[in-house]
């Protein structure tokens, strides 16, 4: 019985202390790779309600300490009622998202039916999981928001770069987790309407503006309902007083 087996130390992200582990099936030893620290500062937020799923993603495209763009869209529409938001290593993110998007659209064309959000989440998880044990894994954190086309039930799936999948009522990635999950723990109810959902989102983004050391340039907000996906005008101009 292999009990107290020694593992090489897992590196912790120097910024957020998140474990940075990647295994490689080609090597008998383990290969460890850092998740780029800046991905912790990207904001991804998801909130489900009675008949909708809200997805918010920060608009700043960062490279090192520089903000290259203040109107970045970190989301891709997979089919009529599934939206995917992503953060992580530059390059990997868009490459992976558009690969998934293309396959989702191929499936819709071939079968004249869309994959349900949970089926889509399991497909994405499998792709990410097989990439995890390859020579160069994708370093991508994802949120998948959708509304089931048959049951009209909203859903939200949380996926990290290790391909751990969890269906959740609300979720966040990066530093936003530390600020927003506790707010949503207190205020979220499963049967809220869109108006209340946006109020909760406002609570979250205000807190992020108040506490995050860097400016994430506001969030792009999209909502998934049974009628499809639309962008919501979200006013980010208001100054938030720091505590």
């Amino acid at each position: 019985m292999l009990e107290a087996r020694e593992f090489p130390p897992i590196f912790l992200c120097p910024v957020c202390k998140a474990p940075q582990l990647i295994t490689s099936k080609y090597a008998s030893t383990f290969l460890f790779i850092y998740q780029p620290p800046k991905s912790c500062q990207e904001v991804l937020l998801g909130i489900t309600g009675k008949d909708f799923t809200l997805i918010a993603a920060s608009k700043a495209a960062m490279r090192g300490a520089t903000i290259l763009k203040a109107s970045d869209d970190k989301t891709r529409q997979l089919n009529k009622h599934t939206l995917m938001a992503f953060s992580g290593e530059a390059g990997d993110t868009v490459q992976f998202a558009e690969y998934i998007q293309a396959n989702a659209q191929l499936y819709s064309m071939r079968n004249e039916a869309d994959l349900s959000p949970s089926a889509m989440a399991n497909f994405v998880r499998r792709e990410l999981a097989s990439s995890l044990r390859s020579r160069k894994p994708y370093m991508v954190n994802l949120l998948l928001g959708g509304v089931d086309p048959i049951t009209d039930k909203p859903s939200l799936h949380w996926l990290d770069y290790l391909a751990a999948l969890a269906p959740v009522p609300y979720a966040a990635h990066g530093y936003a987790q530390y600020y927003c999950l506790s707010i949503l723990d207190k205020h979220h109810q499963p049967d809220i309407d869109l108006e209340r959902g946006l109020e909760l989102l406002r609570l979250c983004t205000d807190e992020l503006k108040r506490r995050l050391p860097i400016d994430f340039k506001g969030v792009l907000v999209k909502v998934v309902t049974k009628d499809g996906i639309r962008e919501i005008d979200y006013d980010d101009s208001k100054q938030v007083q720091s505590a």
Binding site: P9, Y26, A129, A164, L165, V168, Y178
Partner: protein, 205 residues
């Protein structure tokens, strides 16, 4: 904290009773100290045999999916349900296939063999070494605590209702002493002709 087995947290336990077995798991999914989900069950049914998987959450999902695929093919080929003993050997060989790049999981199996009618439980390490036990099997980040509670509470030939109480108390009291496990539990009591699944609320903090 330097092990992939304790990034996401979680606990699982299986016990033998009189003509019955029980298996239970907690529901937490975390990233180190941060809880991401409080509804992440770690027990998966394969016919009437149950498999508990603790460890790295990505591998819990990968291994459970892989075994679902293999067990479904087994059922189609053999035209009968898989026995707990066969599943144990299937899990063992599937894990040993990855000897030099293992799945970071500690599986637990519980079931009743339908030809002999005998209860069966066993556990594994991450590379497939089977640990047969006559009493109980524990796994996960709360395994030290579970050894204590099981050693203290378990006795031979428990009836299904008593076994439920024993395994529930053993699990709940163990996860309350582990920061990485908890947030409620699923408990399965497996008898010859019925399986009872119960959801325990547990401490929500």
């Amino acid at each position: 904290m330097s092990s992939p087995f304790s990034i996401n947290g979680g606990a699982c336990v299986a016990m033998v009773g009189k003509d019955c077995v029980a298996i239970a798991c907690d529901l937490r999914l975390g990233l180190q100290s941060l809880t991401v989900s409080n509804n992440f069950p770690k027990i998966f049914p394969y016919g009437d045999v149950y498999l508990g998987l603790t460890g790295l959450a990505t591998d819990v999902a990968t291994v459970s999916d892989l075994l679902r695929y293999k067990v479904n093919l087994y059922r189609l080929r053999e035209e009968r349900a898989i026995s707990p003993q066969t599943l144990a050997n299937l899990v063992s060989s599937s894990l040993y296939e990855r000897r030099f790049g293992p799945f970071f999981v500690s599986p637990v199996i519980a079931g009743i063999n339908h030809t002999t009618g005998k209860p069966f439980i066993c556990g594994f390490d991450s590379i497939g070494c089977i640990d047969f036990a006559k009493d109980f099997i524990v796994s996960g980040t709360a395994s030290d605590q579970l050894f204590g509670t099981c050693e203290g509470l378990w006795e031979p030939d428990l009836a299904p209702e008593d076994l439920f109480e024993t395994i529930s108390q053993a699990l709940l009291n163990a996860v309350d002493r582990d920061a990485l496990s908890g947030w409620g539990a699923h408990v399965y009591i497996i008898e010859k002709d019925k399986v009872t699944k119960r959801l325990l609320k547990g401490r929500q903090d």
